[in-house]
């Protein structure tokens, strides 16, 4: 049994123009200690998937229309609020994209880390402090004991993201969801944070669900990759397979957008068009209007995920011919 099992998950939002599905029929597994990358454009449903797993979407307007999320054998989609509270933190923790606004400006970072421990464990003040300092050292904050008294505005973006990681990991979660953890950071800092994530995974043995739109981040860190488009999974593969032989035209398009030093190209090949609005999704394959291999029968029905090799699936009915 996997640590996290998502089955046929559909998350819908009630809007003024009717109900839209942000995530549709998404299934995947995540094993202990594994890093699963989820890639896709903005609006492809990556973050909504993560927030659904965490139970952080406001209901209404959001609701889990179908499917289930099993974490360590427990179905999270119908848990009580108080039970979910105990899962968040020691079970599943999350780091967000924006380290500048994810810390409370009126408390010191030490307070905020100790606060998180105190929410789940009864410990004397001294033990809380020691645990927080230890965690700050683990995420690479120098002279951690004195930095405990710092306020968020005294830290750089990279340091804040380290503090966010410390807050997320201080309860030793089994699963860490990182929603674009490096997007807001400088490139050099991005690499440091990703290295740190890998180190922490090795040390704590937690699984990581890494959400990003950056193929480079995926290549460096993930073990397995899921590519999402317009709310659905279009391809899933081990990271090496995905980069060596991407099968879905969308994945191929995404990889062609990445500049490379090895193969010389005059221009990057962009995918024409934009992601369809959820209310105006085309019939059949949602990528067909932007796909250079599209055939008339692509509009006939939503293509199912086809198994191409062990661990490699893609949702395109024309894969054999490409």
């Amino acid at each position: 049994m996997s640590l996290l099992e998502v089955r046929n998950l559909t998350t819908a939002f009630q809007t003024g123009r009717g109900e839209i599905t942000a995530v549709e029929d998404v299934s995947f597994d995540l094993n202990e200690g594994e890093i699963l990358g989820i890639v896709g454009e903005s609006g492809s449903g990556k973050s909504v998937t993560a927030l659904t797993i965490m139970g952080l979407l406001p209901r209404p307007p959001a609701r889990v229309a179908t499917g289930s999320v099993h974490f360590a054998g427990e179905n999270l989609t119908n848990l009580s609020d108080s039970r979910m509270q105990h899962i968040r933190g020691p079970g599943i923790a999350m780091v967000f994209q924006e380290p500048m606004t994810s810390l409370n400006p009126v408390f010191t970072i030490g307070d905020q880390i100790m606060e998180t421990i105190a929410a789940h464990e009864r410990l004397p003040q001294r033990a809380l402090f020691a645990r927080a300092v230890e965690m700050l050292e683990k995420v690479g904050i120098a002279s951690a004991a004195t930095r405990m008294a710092d306020y968020p505005h005294q830290l750089s973006g990279g340091q804040r993201q380290r503090v966010m990681l410390a807050i997320a990991l201080v309860c030793r979660p089994k699963l860490l969801i990182a929603d674009e953890p490096t997007t807001a950071l400088d490139v050099t800092i991005q690499a440091q944070i990703l290295d740190l994530l890998l180190d922490l995974r090795d040390e704590f043995g937690m699984a990581i669900m890494l959400i990003t739109h950056n193929m480079g981040v995926i290549a460096e860190t993930a073990d397995r990759v899921i590519v999402m488009y317009a709310g659905r999974i279009v391809e899933e593969a081990p990271v090496a397979t995905l980069f060596d032989s991407p099968r879905h035209p969308y994945t191929r398009g995404l990889l062609e957008c990445v500049p490379s030093l090895i193969t010389e190209r005059d221009r990057l090949i962009a995918i024409p068009g934009t992601l369809p609005e959820p209310i105006r999704r085309p019939p059949g394959c949602r990528f067909a209007p932007r796909c250079r291999f599209a055939q008339p029968d692509c509009a006939a029905g939503i293509p199912p995920l086809l198994r191409l090799a062990p661990g490699h699936t893609a949702a395109c009915i024309h894969i054999p011919e490409q």
Binding site: S82, R88, P90, A93, F96, N104, P105, E115
Partner: protein, 288 residues
């Protein structure tokens, strides 16, 4: 801009230092302090019973014997005004306290729990639709004219305003990423409200409460002037002015002195509030 030496200081110290450089705030603080100290020291600096009648001294203008003169019953105006300050300050503080507690509770509940929002805020709107003085008169008419009842009446009148301010801060703060991060780290509603939302909602609340103190003092004076506040001969500024009104031509000091005291208090509190607003909530500052 943040000065470099402010970087390693707690927000409280930074705020305090900025306040100490705000001239109008200091002036307001000075005026309010004068009134507050006079109120606190009333038994010592005004030992004469403010209700002691001495008909042979009636209508004495301010002089060496009677610093503020005497009224139509020969009562020492100095004593009456100082003891009036004591009452005004007491009523103002009590109303602010009631507002801070009830307004924060109602506002936080309405802002944080969407389901409560409509019920609480429509009730709030209904209360705010009444003119403050009229509503206060209505409440004192039901409860009776005593100092405690005036406090309750003013508490009811002004709590909706405080609740509204707190609610709007909470609605903004509820959507902040650090609140979501706290939820993601397994914090419960109470912890999130207490640790993440309310501390960040304090700045506009403190500003509001300082103005509210001024309104409470002013409205209390209005109520007793109209004869629906604390019953005479209780020495409130409003009562003294109401009695002095008949002798305005012959003994103008009777109405003027409590009037000036009231003005100093309200002006001081407003300057104090402006200063707090400039420092705590710079976005609201009027561009000069």
């Amino acid at each position: 801009m943040t000065a470099p030496e402010e970087i390693r200081q707690s927000p409280f110290n930074v705020t305090l230092r900025r306040l100490m450089h705000h001239r109008l705030f200091l002036l307001g603080l000075g005026l309010v302090s004068i009134v507050a100290i006079a109120a606190l020291l009333a038994p010592w600096i005004a030992p004469v019973d403010p209700n002691k009648l001495a008909m042979r001294f009636k209508f004495r203008p301010p002089d060496g014997d009677f610093i503020f003169g005497t009224d139509n019953f020969g009562r020492s105006l100095w004593s009456r005004v100082i003891w009036g300050a004591r009452l005004s300050m007491f009523i103002g503080s009590a109303v602010v306290l009631i507002n801070a507690v009830c307004g924060t509770a109602i506002g936080a509940a309405a802002g944080y729990f969407r389901r409560l929002d409509n019920i609480l805020m429509r009730f709030n709107d209904a209360l705010m639709a009444f003119p403050a003085v009229l509503l206060a008169i209505a409440v004192t008419a039901v409860l009776g004219p005593s100092v405690n009842d005036v406090i309750i009446a003013l508490g009811i009148v002004y709590t909706p305003r405080t609740a509204r301010i707190v609610r709007s801060s909470v609605i903004v703060l509820r959507e902040m990423e650090y609140v979501q991060a706290a939820v993601a780290a397994g914090a419960g509603h109470w912890r999130i409200l207490r640790r993440h939302i309310l501390p960040n909602a304090m700045a506009p609340l403190i500003v509001q409460l300082s103005f509210l103190f001024a309104y409470a003092v002013l409205t209390e004076a209005t109520l007793s002037f109209l004869g629906v506040g604390a019953v005479p001969p209780t020495p409130t500024w409003g009562n003294i002015m109401a009695e002095g009104r008949q002798y305005m031509i012959d003994a103008p000091w009777i109405i003027a002195i409590p009037g000036v005291a009231l003005m100093i208090t309200v002006l001081g509190l407003n300057l104090l509030g402006d200063g707090l607003r400039d420092v705590l909530d710079p976005r609201l500052r009027i561009q000069s």
